[in-house]
């Protein structure tokens, strides 16, 4: 195939750009372990509220003192509708839905995940102190735009931590 010189230069340039894309993605994913939420765990959706994993929604500390937030989505609210978390501390969110697909989005942060009935989503992130809005970003029915929760993030020193769990819920 006869290819014009300028076009050949362009195609090499495109190749270099793509190589940079590949490298940066590989470094972020494999080097820094930055992944989108990709947890694989299932749960019977109809019984999620009585399942030991989600019977108590909200903030908890595990036996090793790590902070967890368990949230259940349903048409058209998040349970619990309000949470307080410590700043600059890794928090692991566990999410599921008892009805349709919802989208858990902590507005203006990178904290978000799809919330699918029958599955448990999980991601870990940390926050600066402040007030956050949690919205639903997957259409879930006529009240979708009202599905919201509040997240207060306070300096870790002012955070009233819950008692550690005696046994791991998992």
């Amino acid at each position: 195939m006869n290819i014009d010189l300028y076009e050949r230069i362009w195609m090499w340039g495109v190749g270099v750009v793509l190589a940079l894309f590949f490298t940066s993605t590989a470094v972020a994913a494999l080097g820094h372990q930055i992944h989108p939420p990709s947890h694989v765990e299932t749960i019977p959706p109809g019984q999620a509220l009585s399942d030991p994993r989600f019977r108590r929604q909200g903030v908890s500390l595990d036996q090793r003192g790590r902070v967890h937030a368990r949230v259940v989505g349903l048409m058209f609210t998040w349970l619990p509708p309000e949470m307080t978390l410590p700043a600059d501390t890794p928090v692991t969110f566990h999410l599921t839905s008892i009805d349709v697909i919802h989208g858990f989005q902590i507005v203006r942060t990178n904290g978000q995940s799809m919330v699918v009935p029958g599955y448990v989503s999980q991601f870990t992130t940390r926050f600066a102190a402040g007030e956050y809005l949690i919205a639903c970003n997957e259409y879930c029915g006529v009240g979708h735009h009202t599905m919201a929760a509040k997240l207060h993030v306070v300096p870790a020193s002012q955070w009233k931590s819950p008692a550690r769990e005696v046994a791991d819920v998992r």
Binding site: M1, N2, I3, D4, Y6, E7, W10, M11, V14, G15, L18, F21, F22, T25, A28, A29, I34, H35, P36, P37, S38, V40, E41, T42, P44, P45, M75, D99, V100, I101, G103, Q105, V107, R108, N110, Q112, S113, M114, V116, P117, G118, Y119, V120, S121, Q122, E131, Y132, L133, A135, N137, E138, Y139, C140, G141, V142, G143, H144, H145, T146, A148
Partner: protein
């Protein structure tokens, strides 16, 4: 053999009012264009209402259920009906130009009526407020059974079209052994094969999961399996839209602009690469989903990056072809050729303005597909703003421009309301810029997509969005005006255009064509590349689907959105 060769040409003395005999497939092409134009008009009206509603402006009959019904209607009519029927019309025109007729005309008509019946069925249940599940129809939100059955019939009808295109391509190859078919035919056949492969995902979703579940034959459905099958189809769907637009850019634009196509052999490579690479990428729409391990998402990310290669090659070829045109028209200097391009020709201006918006949309797409960045934009207004630059501008604006070029040729009528046709692409550009740029910013500020109102109970974080959604609404009104102009021009032309002999379709000449013409090469062997595509899809999807099927899964019953 081309249509011009088999039919006697009108002699010079014949007054142009004496009409040539109509080409055999023209009525079918016009029927497809009618459906596309009407679907587009209705969908555009829905869109304006949504834009105003989202800016929290009060409208008569404004309600959340009306809004979500209209989002569903807009998505289905624009993304699935307008595009598919216009692409089918264009494909039949290409095949007729290539071989003088289309294969199996009666079968093609039957498939047209089947697809149309499916559309009427599906959209009827939407307007009856029975199927407000949006065009992605994720279960366990459940629509009326006729919604799923109707959309399946639309897909089956489009399979008939795809089969016809592949047969036309084979006939053209057989007629000229050793010679490549026209680039337009090559692109159409590649797109038809891509479509057959892509729709396997949605067909499986419909037939094995959604239709039995909506009819009550099975109680539950696994939402993750359904989503995965949907996005198996959902990403190549965007290439099904964009390839016909690219075909117009390669094969019509250079000639309309007064120049030649810069490098035809690379064009063949581009369309073949899209056939090979379009499907094993769907997981990049599911970055935020549970149930799929990160490794497979990463693999699809790399595949997604590779597919930008043929698009970037296209960017060079199209700009180079335009520069050839601009210089032939007397343009000089580094950028002088841009000024001399025929900006008043609605096909040329549609494509040029669509390309400008696509440039921004392409960069946005790279961010969406970026493994680590997606968490910032997923399911926000950014996404809707993004694909209104790609399918809503690069594809839709090209289709509108192509309609101004094609409809006179297949109807034997003069384009009516030419002034409106000239203004329309510019209005679309302005409207889309306002709508889309504000949407991108609002998305970065966290505004979720597909919401009826944006106040979230008067949350402080939501205040920043109000100005942006108001500007976006203004963009929506301008876009609606532009859409109205397009529909008026089409109706005027199809119903009342002056009957006059029209110049036939002539594809753009290739710059640097060797004496004696091109010979068939590796990129022309679409059958071989289709097999490669199937293998790549198997690699990308077999294990993730197998793993998903072997989880202890709990299905979901259906839920009505309201």
């Amino acid at each position: 053999m081309s249509a011009d060769a088999v039919k006697p040409r009108i002699s010079v003395e014949t007054p142009s009012r004496v009409l040539p005999r109509e080409e055999p497939a023209n009525p079918l092409i016009r029927a497809n264009i009618w459906v596309a134009v009407l679907a587009f008009g209705v969908a555009a009206a829905m869109a304006m209402m949504q834009a105003i509603s989202r800016a929290n402006l009060e409208l008569p009959y404004r309600s959340a259920s009306m809004y979500y019904m209209s989002v569903t209607a807009h998505g289905v009519l624009m993304a699935l009906v307008f595009t598919t029927f216009f692409i089918m019309a264009l494909g039949y025109a290409v095949a007729q130009k290539e071989n003088g007729s289309i294969p199996w005309p009666r079968f093609s008509w039957a498939m047209f009526w089947l697809a149309l019946a499916g559309v009427v069925m599906a959209i009827g249940t939407v307007f009856a407020f029975k199927s407000s599940v949006l065009y992605t129809f994720y279960p366990p939100l459940q629509a009326h059974p006729l919604f799923y059955i109707g959309l399946t019939l639309l897909v089956v009808g489009s399979w008939g079209w795809a089969a016809s295109m592949i047969v036309a391509w084979r006939r053209a190859r057989a007629a000229n052994p050793g010679r490549p078919v026209s680039l337009a035919m090559h692109a159409t056949a590649a797109n038809a094969m891509l479509w057959l492969l892509a729709t396997m995902g949605v067909a499986a979703e419909m037939l094995f999961l959604l239709i039995p579940w909506s009819l009550g034959l099975v109680k539950t459905v696994d939402p993750m399996l359904a989503r995965t099958l949907f996005w198996f189809f959902g990403h190549p769907l965007v290439y099904f839209w964009i390839l016909p637009a690219y075909a117009i850019w390669y094969t019509v634009l250079p000639r309309e602009a007064g120049g030649k196509l810069f490098s035809e052999p690379l064009g063949r490579m581009v369309f073949t690469l899209f056939l090979v690479l379009s499907t094993p990428v769907g997981l990049h729409h599911q970055f935020q989903d549970p149930g799929i391990p990160a490794g497979w998402k990463l693999f699809h990310t790399f595949n997604t990056m590779i597919i930008s290669f043929p698009s970037l090659v296209t960017a060079f070829t199209i700009v180079a072809s335009l520069e050839v045109a601009g210089r032939l028209r007397g343009g000089t200097g580094l950028f002088g050729w841009i000024r001399t391009l025929p900006w008043g020709n609605p096909l040329v201006s549609s494509v040029l303005l669509g390309c400008l918006l696509f440039l921004v949309g392409g960069f946005g797409g790279a961010i969406n597909a970026a493994y680590a960045l997606n968490s910032v934009v997923h399911n926000t207004a950014w996404i809707a703003a993004h694909f209104h630059l790609t399918v809503g501008s690069a594809a839709a604006l090209t289709f509108m421009g192509a309609a101004y070029w094609l409809v006179p040729k297949v109807s034997g009528r003069e384009l009516e309301l030419k002034l409106l046709a000239k203004v329309q692409p510019y209005l679309w550009f302005i409207g889309m810029a306002l709508f889309s740029f504000t949407g991108h910013i609002a998305g970065l500020q966290g505004l979720p997509r597909r919401v009826f109102a944006t106040s979230f109970g008067d949350a402080a974080q939501a205040h920043a969005w109000q100005t942006l959604t108001s500007i976006s609404a203004l963009g929506g009104v301008i876009l609606f005006t532009s859409a109205g102009f397009f529909v008026l021009v089409m109706l005027g032309t199809l119903l009342a255009g002056e009957r006059r002999a029209q110049p036939p379709i002539i594809w753009a000449e290739s710059l640097g064509e060797p004496p004696g013409g091109y010979r068939t090469g590796l990129w022309d062997r679409l059958g071989l590349w289709f097999v490669v595509a199937v293998v790549l899809v198997a690699i990308a999807y077999a294990i993730p689907l197998w793993d998903l099927l072997h989880l202890t899964r709990y299905g979901s019953p259906g839920f009505k959105p309201f």
